[in-house]
Symmetry: C2
Subunit: 409 residues, 2 copies
């Protein structure tokens, strides 16, 4: 068992009950012993669903299933297992998903297209789906509306803490709740960035509106974090809206009455994404990288990710070394326009380089002090235009290698 991340929050948040959602976790022994590895969530009829998925071309069978299901936009069940990703398991993997979904739909008397499945863990090993389906009845008996922390625990793999976030928002004078959980440690990079995250609300919003909000929110949160530049085959972000709070009917994601809900949803997504980074395998520092002055926002994000994914930048941060020259290197390799002789870099708010060279009389002391902290802030202005982006990552430490050199053994 890996030690708790030094970046872990003090505690799992207190998550309020959310009308129309009941959760249960169960130990079905897929890979882990002595812990839960199955999450069952039942949402009431009428629930609308949106999804954002990995862009991997070798995506897992569960991801393929969910893509089809969330296009229809209705949901009744979510079944998640940890320990086996059911990825690169060929036709056996697809059959495994289909058996799970069929049995669950039968047991809960719903349509197969209303059942969502997600799997996380080892790739390439056939999933014993009968361990899941044999456990469904027992899990159903445990369904409860206050089991959020246990739910977050059941989906963990190499995570060192369960991840949750909650907000209340107001739509048209009615208070709604947004609760989210997530898991993810290594193999974290944009498209999608977390392996699994599930967000629930009692708001009454149609699939199209949910989908638009979720896609936008993912871009600024899960798709703006990276641990090691590797993209999982299983990344899944689902948003369920149970429609239990009866506010005005809203059919446009740009409706002004959604402003507060949108802001709070984005907060939940960002908080979960940050927790994923803070539990990055071996992470000892949380790093925020902002790029301004790029040709456009996309260019800014690409430069920011080049910095965030650079092993040389990440190891320097692990070593508490204010080696800003490596930031320059990363800007140069990003492939986006930059003017070497206009480049400005700040670390911890202190200007280090300006106009392409170290600032006159540079005093490294305050920067070195900043590097010793838990949160490292790097700002780069590339001197070309008005594009900007912020991404988050962690440092690259010995523990990353320890964890990943022996994950299967």
């Amino acid at each position: 068992m890996t030690a708790l991340s030094p970046l872990a929050p003090a505690a799992f948040p207190t998550m309020p009950r959310l009308a129309g959602v009941r959760l249960a976790s169960h130990a079905c022994g897929i890979r882990y012993q002595g812990r839960t590895d199955l999450l069952l969530v039942e949402v009431e009829p009428g629930t609308q669903v949106a999804g954002v998925y990995t862009r991997s071309l070798t995506c897992s069978a569960p991801v393929e299933w969910c893509k089809q299901a969330s296009a229809k936009g209705k949901g009744r069940l979510l079944i998640v297992n940890s320990g086996n990703a059911n990825a690169f398991t060929g036709s056996a993997g697809i059959a495994s998903v289909e058996r799970t979904v069929a049995k669950a739909a039968d047991l809960f008397d719903c349509k197969k297209s209303e059942v969502y499945v997600a799997s996380t863990g080892t790739i390439g090993v056939p999933l014993s789906d009968e361990k899941i389906t044999d456990s469904l009845a027992a899990a159903r008996a445990k369904l409860a509306d206050d089991a959020w922390a246990e739910a977050a625990k059941a989906i963990m793999t190499t995570d060192t803490f369960p991840k949750g976030a909650t907000r209340t928002a107001v739509i048209d004078g009615h208070q709604v709740i947004i609760n989210g959980i997530a898991k993810g440690a290594g193999m974290i990079a944009p498209d999608m960035a977390t392996m699994l995250s599930f967000v629930f609300t009692d708001a009454d919003l149609p699939h199209d509106v949910l989908q638009e909000l979720l896609a936008k929110g993912a871009d600024r949160s899960f798709n703006a974090i990276t641990v090691d530049s590797d993209t999982s085959t299983s990344d899944t972000l689902l948003l369920f809206a149970t429609a239990k709070v009866k506010h005005a009917r809203i059919t446009d994601a740009k409706d002004k009455r959604l402003a507060d809900f949108k802001a709070k949803l984005f907060e939940v997504l960002l908080e979960l994404a940050h927790q994923v980074v803070k539990d990055g395998e071996g992470a000892s520092k949380f790093v925020e990288i902002t790029v301004t002055g790029a040709a456009g926002n996309k260019a800014a994000k690409r430069i920011a990710l080049a910095i965030a994914n650079s092993p040389l930048v990440k190891t320097a941060i692990a070593g508490e070394d204010a080696n800003w020259g490596r930031v320059v290197m990363a800007v140069g390799k990003a492939g986006e326009k930059a003017d070497r002789d206009k480049l400005c870099i700040k670390i911890g708010g202190v200007e280090v380089a300006r106009d392409g060279q170290v600032v006159p009389g540079y005093d490294e002391a305050p920067v070195t002090e900043h590097m010793k902290g838990r949160t490292i802030v790097i700002e780069t202005d590339v001197g070309i235009g008005k594009g900007k982006a912020t991404v988050w990552t962690c440092d690259l430490t010995h523990a990353y290698i320890d964890i990943n050199g022996s994950y299967r053994t």
Copy 2:
């Protein structure tokens, strides 16, 4: 001092004298103590030069200088220092190069455009070029035609062994020599892949022919290796031809009489590139990755590099874990066409996965045995077309983090 790489060759090769080339190394105290850090190479009048450089948009002042010089194609001097890259040093860096070149041209009575400079080491720190120029006369007094090993040592930074390769080739019935040296350990990725490499021949070939051969050779060697996906601001590959062997005049790189020379030049470049990987920071395994069945050769190379640069693949190799699922993941994130359900993977020549899943009755024992060796061979067929590519990398170990977490301190 870092321990010798376990992948180091048994010895530096015996490099023959090469007519028209004399070398000297000198300790001028730029950063390192108790070792040489300056290489001076004098080539005789009439020498033709070709160059291939980093594609970094934040390239160093010496790279900018060499690009202009090698476009003219004539050479008399090469001056290389280690310990300071003179990169991201703004107008001071350019002035430093200009002073060095002017003083050298004066001392050796040649044109400034015939002087090549290269610097490797820390980025962002102004280079004390007077330490170099003050040493030129002393270095000149030491010029010798047999100082190849010393030359390779003077340009090392975190390298644990000096890198050299030599071949003889026949052009039009005349024997010519090709000698090359290189340095490079971290910050190694295509565009360019090594930090510095200098190759010399006594063949009589014009700039245009040399440039075409060098660019092609670099694509299959230095631009097909990666240690950590980071691209240096200083990567420089130069080829000097002293024209001392008087064979037939050849003006076309496709001339059949160049077949043997071309083959041997490519061998020298590849051997040097492999040595760079074998001295990758913290490397304990040399990894060859071949991708076949891609949509085209470029697609194959991009997929191969996605595998080679994946921290999860590299840490699994360090841990001697035959975690082929991570190869699948890397294929999926490469962004090139692949058919998950046609994907085949071999490790150490043993088929592990076929048609998108583990082979029936897969016996991991011979694969695990292969993973314990020093050279790891991974073959992936993506099942789409006829494109193929081979790239080389090393594993990602604790030593990489040790070296790069504290390089400057």
